[in-house]
Symmetry: C2
Subunit: 629 residues, 2 copies
């Protein structure tokens, strides 16, 4: 652990003064950004980045401490500290802040040396910190995680969820520092939404320390105490003043998101004893290019062994095929450099994580009925050297955690989201549990690939495939058991030698009159319907709806009658993706129809629901009959 003598402290105080100038300058030059909170959190950032085991010359050392800044709008504060501590070039920061050609974006961004997580939406950072802390445990490494947060975001429920997980798993390698300035956009935090922060942390079993958040010695001392605590996660309440350091800014919330004007800047820099050299930076900024900067994505090599697939010949649910494949992967990689881990939200038996839970409990994380936190924890864990499978029902793993996945995508994580219980295939649990958006929701996240396997054999290969490649994948499946898909001759379509290839369309049947495009739980019904009309119906299984194969679709689509069948919301989904692709590529079908879900459905057996909503083999065959005649 680092120690700091009087000289070091004096030097840090000097740096703090310079940083305050940097904050005011960069927000002035950008004419945008958040100076108030940056100045409030400044000594926190300076203490944490100085105290943490970090080397500006080797910022991605795998054994480095991780610092997460949850209130990402205080980026001017963070960038100034990183600049003054040698992680980045301070002149580039001041000139480039919030400019499209600069890496110094409006909110702190993963990929900038020293920044571990892109934040901006409040209340996410502690979950990321918990993910990193669990990663350290899984990899048996002893780096520490520091999370800086604002007081306003303590109201966010996800913070309470993260706190509980930290306590449950004894994450003493995690320290939180809260900027307690009692100020937020709408006024005093205690007026906007009263939160007894101390009592909240204590009620969830944390140790709490309190310090003057502008006193670097107190902060460093508290950080030492926190790191020395090998039992509990520790929260440091750092009492601060918004706009600290410039008389007229202090405690004035109007500077939350507003830079100073020219006159105010002059006055403020004068108070701080700093030369006003913004003209220089204005000139530098004017020279910046028209091109946007390219994002720098952190990735790690996925070093795992992938055991051979299993083949199913009897009625099986895809979720069991998933569970078995995952258990194979977890077992095989017990001692791999890259651990494979399962994350559950109190549904282990239903989502088939119970095998991992039972046989390899050290690779199983039970995060409770706390999906928001779980999705964010899983994302950070997956980004920090751990291949992570987050399994949940469709309504939780897609709908409830929608924004957490969008933020994972922004952070370029390596998460494998497995959603079971998708579609009307769920049956009796009814509309609150019918996850109908497993294609159309992830399509919006810009950074998740979607796979909807057709049967247990395809599911098995998909799971093995996604474990082995870096990136975010969402794999969607239903609840019910189904017979494995067979070809015209009754042989397994996805047989022993089948290997999953991302983006490949499976031509399950070839016919003359109509092409059915489909995926997921309804594939067996479509095949059964097609077989009733032998030779007249082609069946395309599009398991990768976001990445379509032009060659196959042109051959089976252009000038053909098309029927899309999906156990998915009708508005947007496979049908829309296909329609857009068709028109953009000039593939013009002679007709284009759809069977999908137009409304929140009733509760009932999935067979009954498929009959009612047109997805049974009978109803599909009827529709095909009409199209052919």
């Amino acid at each position: 652990m680092k120690t700091f003598n009087k000289h070091d402290i004096k030097k840090l105080k000097q740096i703090a003064r310079l940083c305050r100038g940097d904050i005011l300058k960069m927000t002035y030059v950008a004419n945008s950004g958040h100076p108030g909170g940056s100045m409030s959190s400044l000594e926190i950032f300076l203490s944490v980045f100085s105290f943490a085991n970090l080397n500006p010359d080797n910022p991605y050392d795998p054994l480095r401490d991780r610092v997460v800044v949850s209130h990402g709008h205080t980026s001017p504060g963070v960038y100034s500290v990183l600049g003054r501590l040698g992680f980045v070039d301070i002149d580039q920061v001041i000139a480039g802040f919030r400019h499209h050609s600069s890496i110094f974006e409006g909110h702190v961004t993963r990929g900038i040396p020293g920044v571990e997580w892109t934040t901006g939406n409040l209340g996410q950072g502690l979950s990321a910190g918990v993910g990193f802390a669990l990663a350290a445990k899984m990899k048996e490494q002893d780096y520490h995680i520091f999370v800086a947060m604002s007081d306003a975001e303590q109201a966010k429920g996800q913070v309470a969820e993260a706190r509980r997980v930290a306590k449950k798993y004894g994450l003493s390698n995690l320290t939180v520092v809260i900027d307690y300035n009692d100020a937020q956009i709408s006024g005093r935090a205690r007026d906007v939404m009263p939160v007894n922060i101390r009592k909240n942390y204590e009620a969830d079993g944390w140790r709490v320390l309190e310090v003057d958040g502008h006193d670097i010695e107190q902060l460093l001392h508290a950080l030492s105490q926190a790191v020395e605590d090998k039992v509990n996660p520790v929260a440091i309440l750092a009492h601060t003043i918004m706009g600290k350091g410039v008389s007229f800014m202090e405690n004035d919330v109007s500077y939350h998101g507003k830079p100073l004007d020219k006159e105010q800047l002059e006055k403020a820099l004068n108070e701080l004893g700093i030369d006003n050299d913004v003209e220089k930076y204005m000139k530098m900024r004017a020279q910046l290019g028209n091109q946007k900067h390219e994002p720098f994505h952190l990735e790690y090599p996925v070093k795992i062994k992938v055991p051979a697939g299993r083949t199913y010949t009897t009625k099986t649910d895809n979720r069991s095929a998933f569970g078995n494949a995952l258990l194979d992967l977890v077992k095989e990689n017990r001692n791999s450099e890259t651990p494979v881990v399962a994350v559950d939200c109190d549904l282990a038996t239903s989502v088939k994580l119970d095998g991992v839970q039972k046989y390899v409990p050290e690779r199983f994380l039970e995060l409770g009925v706390q999906e928001h936190n779980a999705a964010a924890v899983a994302g950070a864990l997956s980004a920090d050297g751990v291949v992570t499978f987050f399994a949940d029902f469709g309504v939780f793993g897609v709908s409830e955690t929608y924004n957490q996945h969008r933020l994972n995508a922004i952070n370029h994580t390596n998460l494998k989201v497995i959603v079971t219980h998708c579609g009307l295939n769920v049956g009796e649990d009814g509309k609150t549990h019918h996850g109908l958006d497993y294609i159309s929701a992830p399509a919006n996240w810009l950074g998740y690939k979607v796979i909807v396997p057709a049967d247990p054999n395809q599911t098995d290969r998909v799971i093995r495939y996604i474990a082995s490649v870096y990136g975010n994948y969402l794999v969607a499946m239903g609840r019910a058991k189904m017979m494995p898909i067979v070809d015209e001759n009754g042989k397994l379509f996805f047989a022993d030698n089948y290997r999953f290839e991302y983006g490949k369309i499976d031509i399950l049947r070839k016919g003359t009159d109509v092409t059915v495009v489909t995926c997921g739980s309804v594939v067996p019904n479509v095949v059964e319907a097609a077989d009733k009309l032998r030779g007249k119906v082609s069946v395309l299984n599009v398991s990768c709806p976001l990445d379509l194969d032009e060659h196959v679709l042109r051959e089976y689509g252009h000038g053909k009658k098309i029927l899309v069948v999906e156990d998915h919301v009708a508005t947007l989904g496979l049908t829309s993706l296909l329609a857009k692709f068709f028109l953009q590529k000039g593939i013009i079908p002679s007709s284009f129809e759809q069977i999908a879900i137009q409304e929140h459905a009733v509760s009932g057996s999935y067979e009954a629901l498929y009959e009612i909503y047109g997805l049974s083999s009978t109803k599909i065959a009827e529709k095909l009959g009409q199209m052919i005649s």
Copy 2:
């Protein structure tokens, strides 16, 4: 307040015994459902529904107390109580439970007499209760709200958020009863995810009572104490036993979601001293029809006055036009039968709720940085006689609260979601703040109409329109100021006499060669580009992308070159909706191109971003030039 004598208590105990039998029978007959928790919560349901001011013969009396059951999977318990207390027919319940033709769905469903809110996704019910409690205050009515919850869902962060709002607004008309059985799907609650429930409620300022949750007298006494408390919201921790009442079911979590088999049922009913008459119900069930039941939607008449619109002639942001229109509506309806209320999440100034906050503070609710709870509270409030505007940034009001809106849609609420700061139009705040899914996300909710107005004048009329009609609407807008749209002669397109008509496409320009289909923040750029190519470009403003006008689209689309321009994620959105509509209607354009957002964008001024991502008038004109030549 109701009082209960010894005879009443004895009678309730008798009913409890019958209800236990009903629970076991209906889950057996349905071969599906959750008996364990239902038996655990039974005395809670029976006490609450007996104690509450409810009349089975007039279940929708506006002044009735509201009972919300948050752990909706305990529907067998709720339905059995409602049956035995005369709200519904118990025979229909037992025979129809979870059958597609029956209203008795798998999870408790709004529209069944006595059921105020459809739940199933855990952790939502307290927010709904807070919404109803706030509605009572807004309407100056003194009904009480009871929320029954499970212990496992206390882990969910949204519960903490709701708790804080209840305390902040002094909702002493709200009482929570928690079924503290220490059991959930994955085992003992304390093992799955430790939550110190008592300390959590106390830390958030609630009064906590503890009772034996199977002792009806204790429960009724605690309910009296809670209702008598005119200062604090009260939580009653009711200690219970999962599967209570049948020896072999008690404390066995395997009965969480599993009905008894024939032999077990016989044994259990025998223990309870109840005749086994399930054969009768099996026969009744076999007679049920093939048709699904139609949902019964609760609605109220929206009795508000709509003041005349404002017309803007200078550069204005749509969000200011929204704020002004809302303030007009709130002021005008200060004393209306239907209040108009604004819900904020610490962004009042940015989302332009500050007018309401300042001038009509009693119609302004500040719910803090707690979006999940806020969206659910706003939904319940809107369903209970209050026209509710929930304003937030796109990333929070759409992405973060995605599932809460899906659940509002299921509950057929009357919520007006206004999302500002959508698209790259947000600019410097960067990718975490670029809300790019304001069309494609709500499209999945099945129950929200989407409107993307083109300019401040259209925005003004849209806001007045949606306030006056029952239903959920999402209105999306950017951040920047823009000049109002004018016609070819420079006159306001949306002028004084303009009235918004849902679904109408505005033909902003008529041209010969290309049709641009667009909406929202980029409309001015499209019009400017079109005007550079005078006479060659038609511009269609599709402000209602989910409900397209076939007539106009056929005229301007069939055989035409089409360019779709949207400041929205490219994968799914206006382009996809249009493509699907075109192919389904046989409207075949001669070419079909798109300008939209393909990736998470960088931070920068919105003008720079529009230039980089092809949405500036220059770039649009360039594209049009290529298409025309």
